[in-house]
Amino acid sequence: MAKKESSFLNMVLTLLVITVVASFTLASVYNLTKGPIAAAREAARQNAITMVVPEFDRLESQKFLPLTGRDSLEFNFAYKGDELVGVAVGTYTDQGFSGRIRAMVGFYPDGRIVDVVHLQHAETPGLGDKIEKGKSDWSDQFRDFDPATQILRVAKDGGNVDAITAATITSRAYCEGIQRAYETFIANVKTPEGGAE
């Protein structure tokens, strides 16, 4: 089949048509998938919250700026009836081995940690990825950890946290993220009455 002649007009027209068709197609697919993508992200978030706070029947969310770090943290206050049973904080650290690690930290109203679950990371498989609950029970040591009386740093830095073997950087970063959540929690949430302000 003969190709179209490469005149300037033809070239511009062809590229224009292709690009316009492509953009329209993509816009439609984008609209179709917008809903499911948002639903998938929301489901993941809800899942993480459920994992780190005691049973609740309603959530109230609020954002707070931490003392260090550019981005705000999302606080999810979990209520059972009128009683605050826990706060799930979406935190982050930029000191991971491969960039940002995001995690959900659950606090009891008095500031003790309920549990920590990772949300997103790019750490090394087999080493840093042990922060994942499914890959190892390393993160279980944060259950009932009380940052008021214990130090949220790896043992090497004088703290009470056991680092992952051969993944000190990841462990250190994870602690930094949890510490960020704790400090913001203390600064913004009244304890020990457990009432949100």
């Binding site: 089949m1 003969a2 190709k3 179209k4 002649e5 490469s6 005149s7 033809n10 070239m11 062809t14 590229l15 292709i18 690009t19 492509a22 197609t25 993509l26 697919v29 984008y30 998938t33 809903g35 499911p36 993508i37 998938a40 992200r41 993941a44 997103q120 790019a122 090394t124 498989p125 087999g126 080493l127």
Partner: protein, 194 residues
């Protein structure tokens, strides 16, 4: 070339990864497990088949000087579709493949087939070529992923054989290079004995 030969050449004789050495970046980057390799392979196959079909259909309408940019826009569109659909319906795989999904657009395999094959052959041949090459690519990635997962984590498709870790080096960067190197040597041996 019969369509059957057209289809099967992608598996051993002209395997994109082991013989043509195309698409090495994702081959090395996502094959930490057999499942990831398979997922990436199938996503790439979708893009390859779709772009081959479209290019073959409109090839007479594309002026010669702008064919590469045109192919690129077409391929990039299908890659974006894969990105969006995956994020919506397969979020775990999407998170595992990460950066390498948009990188399908620069997978030399896809652009290479559009340029070398689809822009010259008819619709059916282009479709079959895309399917064969894509599945050959998926086969290569799944195989490399399986080797790395078996040696590195003592598991296959998520089923663990052993407690604890395997030879970790295989799920890390060096293992990817070395694993691929030996698989290519193996393919060379097989081809020689054919």
């Amino acid at each position: 070339m019969s369509q059957l030969k057209n289809f099967t050449k992608g598996f051993i004789k002209e395997n994109p990864v082991f013989v043509l050495l195309l698409g090495l970046c994702p081959a090395l980057g996502v094959t930490t497990s057999a499942f990831n390799g398979l997922g990436m392979g199938l996503a790439t196959t979708f893009v390859l088949v779709s772009s081959n079909v479209v290019v073959s259909l409109i090839k007479s309408q594309i002026p010669d000087k702008v064919r590469i940019p045109s192919f690129i826009v077409i391929i990039a569109s299908f890659v974006t579709i894969v990105q969006l659909v995956m994020e919506a319906f397969m979020p775990d795989l999407f998170a595992a493949l990460g950066l390498f999904i948009p990188l399908i657009v620069v997978n030399c395999l896809v652009l290479g087939r559009a340029e070398a094959f689809a822009s010259k052959k008819n619709l059916v041949s282009s479709l079959v070529d895309g399917l064969g090459m894509g599945l050959g690519f998926a086969f290569a990635l799944t195989l490399l992923g399986a080797v790395r997962e078996l040696l590195g984590s003592g598991a296959i498709f998520g089923f663990s054989f052993i407690q604890g870790d395997g030879m970790l080096v295989f799920v890390l960067a060096p293992g990817a290079f070395i694993g691929l190197g030996y698989l290519i040597a193996l393919t060379n041996m097989i081809k020689k004995n054919e």
